[in-house]
């Protein structure tokens, strides 16, 4: 069971993306737990996470978050993917990074 954490400013728009991601994961039987949090909660929220995604609006936090959650992989969600709320693409990316393909 993979644990995927999404971070953005207030965890608001990202929460909507989480719903799409859960549906996409369910459709392909990919077992994972997906949750969204505010970037300020990064340290606590990423405990035992397998991968962390940042919304494009907090891309500037990449190096800080990477340092904080080391060695968990941290990825920034592409603006187009985010804008289209393409949960499936984010799941695919998670699988690629985690070697689950």
């Amino acid at each position: 069971m993979r644990k995927i954490v999404l971070l953005c400013n207030a965890g608001m728009s990202t929460s909507a993306l989480v719903t799409k991601m859960r549906k996409a994961a369910e459709a392909i039987n990919y077992e994972c737990e997906i949750n969204a949090y505010a970037a300020a909660e990064a340290s606590k929220a990423t405990q035992d996470a397998d991968i962390v995604f940042l919304g494009p609006q907090v891309k500037y936090l990449l190096s800080e978050v990477k340092e904080k959650v080391k060695p968990i992989p941290v990825e920034v969600i592409d603006m187009m993917v985010y804008g289209m709320m393409d949960g499936g693409k984010v799941i695919t990316r998670a699988k690629q990074v985690l070697g689950d393909i």
């Binding site: 953005c8 400013n9 608001m12 728009s13 909507a16 799409k20 919304g55 494009p56 609006q57 907090v58 891309k59 500037y60 603006m79 187009m80 985010y82 804008g83 289209m84 709320m85």
Partner: protein, 104 residues
């Protein structure tokens, strides 16, 4: 997904990325990398326009007599748009201050 939700997300993604670039620009200026700072402001401005276009679609829709139903996500998008817009001005001022301090 379609309509208001999709447009709201387009706005949030674009202006959010713009805002992030503006913050990165200030950080580069702080390190004395002014070329990089200016490039990040330009980059941010380019994506901001995409958000502005998505927003304009809604304004046109309303002007055409098709009411836009306000949702929490749309309010959030408006909020992000305003924040990014203001951030650009602040970032440019900060970069100028760092530039002045650097040349002295």
């Amino acid at each position: 997904m379609e309509g208001i939700e999709l447009i709201s997300f387009k706005i949030i993604a674009a202006v959010g990325e713009a805002r992030s670039s503006y913050i990165e620009a200030i950080r580069e200026a702080k390190k004395g990398n002014f070329e990089k700072a200016d490039a990040l402001i330009d980059e941010g401005s380019k994506v901001f326009i995409e958000g502005h276009h998505a927003h304009a679609e809604l304004i046109q829709q309303e002007a055409n007599g098709e009411p836009v139903v306000p949702t929490l996500m749309l309010m959030h998008a408006e909020d992000q748009l305003m924040s990014a817009d203001a951030f650009k001005i602040i970032a440019q001022e900060f970069i100028d201050v760092y530039r002045n301090a650097h040349s002295k």
